[in-house]
Amino acid sequence: MAYFMEKVKTKSTPYVLIDEAKQYMKLEGDCFPDDTLEFFWDINKWLCEYLESGNYDKLTFDFELNYFNSSASKILFDMLEQMNEFSKNGKQAQVNWHVESGDSLLRELYEDFEEDFTDLKIILIEK
């Protein structure tokens, strides 16, 4: 059975959706969990297995975080790095990077990530 996970939004953690059958994941909301490693544990574990399984050749990631703290940013960077590696061998991960208009730092971060991850497709979507 393809993996499926959905977590509701809390005051400090985002909505999470992983729908392996649709080759899709989404994070939406604010992200400053009490224990960032613990919060991302399942998500990361699934992502590693998915990307390395050899069963899939694409992944779409809707990145709709309004705010994430500094420890989450490190983990998110590592996740994108894995997707970038995945995209090197004829496979393609795509990140839809949603930014509220006027949020220039999140836009800047998009530019820096976009420049850094040359094989990953990162698309800016302004809300």
Partner: protein, 181 residues
């Protein structure tokens, strides 16, 4: 003791106090205060950048207290006056760690926005040998990136092992139309 609330109201005139908290700092306190701060700021006409700056500096400072304070208590104060926001935190820390922290803040204060942007990416790429150290110092860079002025700080000796650390961060907002009564 009863505070003279008229005096408080009158003397502070243009100063709005959004949050003044002293107590236990755990995730539930951070969550509740972040909701309060968000609804306070909803009355201000803020650019997305100003809102994000105040909000993220508030969360980073509170997390700093949560993770690094020598005792599980700390203070956080958020005010606005004359189109300027201040976020200020205070907590006890081990005196032996202050030199390192001072050095890091001074280093960040000496950088311009572009250098901070580059430094942030540099740090985020580094593999952290100790994942439990969490942000690996990225929190302070995040604060410096979003601040309008250099981060002000003070270290006040408390007892033979502990020092009280205060940080004050300024965020300018040209769009704010609240304040004067």
């Amino acid at each position: 003791m009863l505070l003279n609330t008229l005096e408080l109201f009158d003397k502070t005139k243009k100063l709005d106090v959004y949050i003044a908290y002293k107590g236990i700092v755990r995730i539930d306190n951070i969550e509740e205060l972040s909701v309060a701060l968000r609804s306070q700021m909803a009355f201000d006409k803020l650019s997305q950048d100003t809102f994000r700056a105040v909000f993220s500096i508030f969360v980073e400072l509170m997390e700093n207290v949560k993770m690094h304070s020598a005792v599980p208590k700390g203070c956080i104060i958020v005010t606005s006056q004359d189109k300027i926001y201040h976020v200020q935190s205070g907590n006890l820390m081990e005196t032996q760690n202050i030199e390192e922290l001072k050095k890091r803040i001074n280093h960040l204060n000496s950088m311009d926005k572009q250098s901070l942007r580059n430094y942030y990416m540099e740090r985020i790429k580094k593999n952290n040998p100790n994942p439990r150290s969490r942000g690996a110092g990225i929190g302070l860079i995040e604060i410096a990136k979003r601040a309008s002025e250099p981060v002000e700080y003070d270290f006040i000796p408390y007892d033979e092992h502990l020092t009280f650390f205060t940080a004050k961060v300024t965020i300018n907002n040209d769009n704010i139309e609240r304040g004067a009564v």
